[in-house]
Symmetry: D2
Subunit: 172 residues, 4 copies
């Protein structure tokens, strides 16, 4: 499982949230979490073509079974930093990946951005996005773990969300 | 598996498409397809509360493992007819359902509506939407089956889209 | 100026908000506000074609210089009731109308719905939507007038929002 | 009037389209078109804070009466390049600007991106976006000028789109 974070600030709260979500998905699926890709470490190279280091990062994420894509909310959407990384994929570049969109934001008013802005980009790249996205407003940062718990309970197996596998299989 | 069609015209091409998609999902998952809910048959009751017949329909769809929700494109979005039916659900009323959004449209220009308009409503209702939505422009009606084939190949197991089940499980 | 409200409950708080916004737009533009179209009064006819009474309502709104379209938030979007009315327009049926989208909602989390769900439908119908949409969460109902004030200050002339008229003209 | 282009390729067809649209808006409004900001010329600096040159560009655009924002379609949305520039604005950083969203794309299927992806970002930044966005698929590049003509006829004065100015004023 990969974790990709598009926050211009290194080691951000967005990153901490993404890693907490990844740990929960790993628990539910048995996947192993790879070291996080903190895109601010690669900002200088994102608009260079070709670029060997970035190509390797893109490939590693595309080869994952699962990937968490996380961004703070800038202008009611994901950051240009995250989008610049996603733009480097060819058409359907995330086919075969089950993606989990995660966003943090200054206010609850941007909650919908995770499902109206970030999710469509992942779907367009061919990823499967079976869960609801997770949005965490900074005002609720203290309740972070409780909110992840609730999201996990609603969205992760064994409860039922095994996508196109039948529900009975999911509960085996 | 349920099929719900929100076309004001009875027995529409939208309905035929929805049923063809449902048959394909049934093949891939072993689900049994229930008789289609053609909402134009219930248009007179959609704004009546409470309504026993509609409550039974809502419940039957919510109890399905899978559901195809289909609509023609009106004003770059799903129809009011379909939305009026979905509005009757309580919060998270489609939790536990794996939903497939399907739309037909007059022109290819509205392709994105299935993933920017219809999908977010299903996600908001708590459904899992692991596949890409399927949009069929009327101009490509002759290629319908080939387009469904391609969509199925990209989105249905055994290829890999078992949502949060691990890919290896999906390929067993 | 027209006011169209798509709340299944008659004389709703959504309607009161829509009328308050309309009054403010009228102050800024000199337009006269026509009696509100409360769509719950017409719910039984919305799926009947043709229908003389609804055709007259559709025409009256389309002939307005300005129109406020208001809806509560159902499933993170406008209601099927409002959409069913808008679906009755032909392509570009609101050309020439300057539209103001307004939504109420149970929580601030749906704030973006007014600009991601309702606005695109109005734009698709050919309306001009120069202002930001106004979303009022029920939790802030007590601050309604202050929020309208702030929205008006940010979005209505003379401050500058004369659309494609030049800013200097707007300030004359 | 400013023109901002977010195409990683210099002097792109997106840029040519943006300038053609700007010329048309200038004709309709009397605005003077400033030299185009071709963001690929600034890609190396977009993730540097602070940056004097970019701050000057951001300020110049924000001071414009009108601005055309143009992007090719990447992953069914605007580019990370354009978003990275827009991310540098503070909240409401485009207040007072009348913005025109413009996108090019490989296929007509992404037509809606200009109004579902790019427009909401401009609205969030406080810009007024009274016109429909203009999307040009590469397949229709030969009909570019005819499509701009049609868009201008539908969206620019004197036909009526003077935003919140009354229609009669618009026709004076």
């Amino acid at each position: 499982m990969s974790v990709v974070v598009g926050n211009p600030k290194p080691r951000s709260r967005t990153l901490a949230l993404a890693e907490a979500v990844a740990a929960r998905v790993a628990d539910a699926t048995g996947a192993t979490v790879e070291p996080t890709v903190d895109l601010c470490d690669h900002a200088d190279d994102l608009f260079k073509w070709p670029h060997e280091g970035l190509a390797a990062l893109n490939d590693a994420v595309a080869a994952s079974d699962f990937a968490v894509f996380a961004s703070p909310t800038y202008k009611a959407a994901y950051t240009g930093l995250l989008k610049a990384f996603l733009d480097r994929y060819p058409s359907n570049g995330l086919a075969g990946v089950t993606a989990v969109p995660v966003m943090t934001g200054g206010s609850e008013a941007h909650t919908m951005a995770v499902d109206t802005a970030l999710r469509p980009v992942l779907v367009e790249l061919g990823a499967s996005v079976p869960t609801r996205g997770l949005f965490l407003p900074m005002t609720l940062m203290d309740e972070r773990d409780a909110l992840i718990d609730r999201w996990a309970q609603d969205n992760l197996p064994p409860r039922s969300r095994l996508g196109l596998g039948s529900r009975s299989e999911a509960q085996r």
